[in-house]
């Protein structure tokens, strides 16, 4: 369909999302709602990566690090709340209006520090360095013995508390995720359309030209990197609340790879694509083993990644515009 249909498509999608818990209930499987919550959360992370990857041309292979920071802020404060012990002289808390912004801000701060270093380089260096620093944070959280180290940390106090909203109800939590996804998507659309976003895209196309035009390229890239880090942090905050459990696994380097795949699978530089990509990736991950099981291909059921890996290579080699590209026709001169 023509690209002009993207807006009606999105509105239809939103209506479907709002109606979804009722559909899942009608199908007699409320578990679906939880799966879709997870998709929505990773969609936020994927959109935030698309902002720097698709619009800023920065191939960050360490995006899961900011997801992890956001998640751990929630879990650690919840731990101290449950435990009654103090952290830096302050009590722990479960109060969402404090914890959630703090998670986002600290993720943004981590992105500011690491981004300031990583953006001194470009190309292959940038990929390797973002990966290496993400790994550094991974080891940092592994070494936090008090917070479970390798084994991770359960949030015994349950999800964060929010006034007037009961987050412990799965359906309510689902709608909170929908709201955050819509909000973040709209924000990113606005950023991309703004002057800032135009400059960012100019930098992706030709960094030297933008430098010559007098733009402080480094600062623009860093600002975008921090916004993306904050977005991933938000996703992390929601993820910790979703599973009520965090572990260093959240920021394992393969998670960064997963988020990157979601962006590519859905369509890079489209913002809409990453939502589709997140859905496709997580559904494949969940149902590929089931499908192989149904086809009684037991060997593949346990080893579905042996199919998934080559699939990924083929998508990269032959279907560059992703799911978005399959849905929407390319506009003239766009590319």
């Amino acid at each position: 369909m023509p690209a002009a249909y993207e807006k009606p498509f999105l509105i239809a999608g939103l209506i479907l999302l709002i109606a979804f818990p009722y559909i899942a209930e009608a199908l007699g499987n409320a578990y679906f709602t939880s799966t879709v919550s997870r998709i929505l959360i990773f969609a936020i992370a994927a959109i935030s990566l698309d902002l720097i990857l698709g619009y800023g041309g920065m191939v960050s292979f360490g995006h899961a690090a900011y997801l992890g920071v956001g998640a751990y802020v929630v879990a650690i404060l919840s731990f101290h709340f449950y435990d009654g012990s103090a952290l830096f002289g302050l009590p722990g808390t479960e109060f969402a209006p404090i914890v959630w912004p703090l998670g986002v801000v600290l993720s943004a701060l981590a992105a500011l520090v690491l981004g300031a270093l990583c953006l001194r380089t470009s190309g292959i260096y940038f990929i390797m360095i973002t990966l290496a620093f993400a790994q550094m944070l991974f080891f940092f959280f592994v070494s936090l013995q008090r917070y479970g180290g390798d084994d991770g940390l359960f949030m015994f106090a349950g999800r964060s508390h929010m006034p007037f909203i009961d987050l412990d109800d799965d359906t309510t939590f689902y709608y909170v995720c929908v709201a955050f996804l819509v909000g973040f998507y709209v924000l990113c659309r606005a950023i991309v359309a703004s002057r800032f976003g135009r400059v960012l895209q100019g930098i992706r196309q030709n960094e030297r030209r933008m430098t010559m035009l007098g733009y402080p390229v480094y600062r623009y890239k860093l600002a975008a990197f921090v916004i993306a880090g904050a977005g991933a942090g938000l996703a992390g905050v929601l993820l910790a609340n979703h599973t009520k459990f965090v572990s260093p696994d959240i920021l394992h380097w393969t998670k960064s790879g997963d988020i990157l795949i979601m962006v590519i699978l859905g369509g890079i530089g489209t913002l809409t694509g990453p939502i589709l990509g997140s859905a496709a990736f997580l559904l494949l991950e969940e149902y590929l083993p089931v499908i192989f099981g149904d086809l009684s291909m037991d060997l593949l059921k346990d080893h579905w990644r042996i199919v998934f890996g080559p699939m990924l290579i083929l998508i990269v080699l032959f279907a560059r515009r992703g799911l978005y590209g399959m849905l929407f026709r390319r506009e003239n001169g766009d590319g």
């Binding site: 001194r120 292959i124 360095i129 290496a132 080891f139 936090l144 080893h303 890996g309 290579i313």
Partner: protein
């Protein structure tokens, strides 16, 4: 003092492993402009083949000799089937495709060898300890690794600095279009280089077998450390890879051994242990950060064409 020398040697030995993996990787980066995440998988394949053949024949040497061609064949197959299509692509495509390759190889290895780690004994001939400096016994096997690594480094330097192939490699890392235009069969050179890098990685994997548990995922652990090495040393520079490897190996090992104790001088023991464990595993990355601040393109920036 005794502990310090021992840890220094351990660091040197980790550095040798890193160098064996990094040497191939940095040349592939430098000359082909290709980022290959699956390079660590070749390290893993080397370790698995060595462990299996050693188990079957009872001879570590046979295992080592089997690991080298196995890694070379794996390297050539990977180059032929996947990498060839990626040379002209963006780095992003290379990262994703080789990430897919890792998923595939790791799963294939799990299918063949299962999920339980394999263990490999130190060969009898290299058992026991040896006093390098009087009063400091050190395992012979680790000394052998250090010696083998130094030999390989020398060999590599000889090939690159003194032979015609080495000249082509150096030329290729400076300006590959020019080398191709001068009538050199670049495709063949690429495949050969890829195979050579695979052999080094496989060799390192086989040698590492008796020291670590051979398991899926061992390749990626060393791969990410190798990235740190290459960032520190500078892409495409074998000399940089050598210096970077030794630096990372020594800093990592000494950091793990001494940082918690050093912190105890300033902090209460309980906190020092907690922070020390975190800080010591972050040491190499902090080193990388410092190098980046001082010299963004590494200690030995090699080729302009390597970007």
């Amino acid at each position: 003092m005794l502990l310090f020398v021992e840890q220094l040697l351990n660091g040197l030995q980790l550095g040798i492993f890193l160098f064996l993996v990094a040497a191939g990787l940095t040349l592939i980066f430098g000359i082909m402009g290709l980022i290959n995440l699956a390079h660590g998988s070749l390290f893993m394949i080397g370790a698995y083949v060595a462990a299996t053949v050693t188990g079957l024949t009872g001879s570590f040497l046979a295992g080592l000799l089997a690991a080298l061609p196995a890694a070379a064949v794996a390297g050539v197959v990977i180059e032929f089937v996947v990498m060839r299509r990626l040379y002209d692509r963006e780095h992003l495509d290379q990262v994703l495709a080789t990430f897919g390759l890792i998923l595939f190889i790791n799963e294939a290895v799990t299918m063949i060898w299962g999920r339980t780690p394999l263990f490999l004994n130190v060969p009898d001939a290299l058992k026991g300890t040896f006093e390098i400096i009087p009063g400091i016994p050190y395992p012979v096997y680790r000394i052998a690794i250090i010696a083998a690594g130094i030999l390989v480094a020398l060999l590599l330097w000889l090939v690159i600095a003194r032979t015609r192939v080495g000249m082509l490699i150096r030329a290729g890392s400076t300006n590959r279009e020019m080398v191709a235009a001068l009538g050199v069969d670049i495709a063949l050179l690429y495949t050969a280089l890829f195979a050579a890098g695979a052999v080094f990685a496989g060799f390192a994997g086989a040698m590492a077998g008796p020291l670590v548990s051979v398991q899926v995922g061992m390749g990626e652990q060393i791969l990410i450390l190798t990235f740190v090495v290459i960032v520190i040393g500078g892409i495409g520079s074998v000399r940089g890879a050598l210096i970077g490897s030794l630096l990372v190996g020594v800093v990592d090992t000494l950091g793990r051994a001494f940082v918690p104790d050093l912190l105890k001088l300033f902090l209460p023991p309980a906190e020092a242990d907690g922070i020390g464990a975190g800080l010591s595993s972050m040491m190499v990355y902090l080193l990388m950060a410092v190098v980046l601040i001082v010299r963004p393109s590494g200690l030995f920036p090699a080729a302009a064409g390597a970007r």
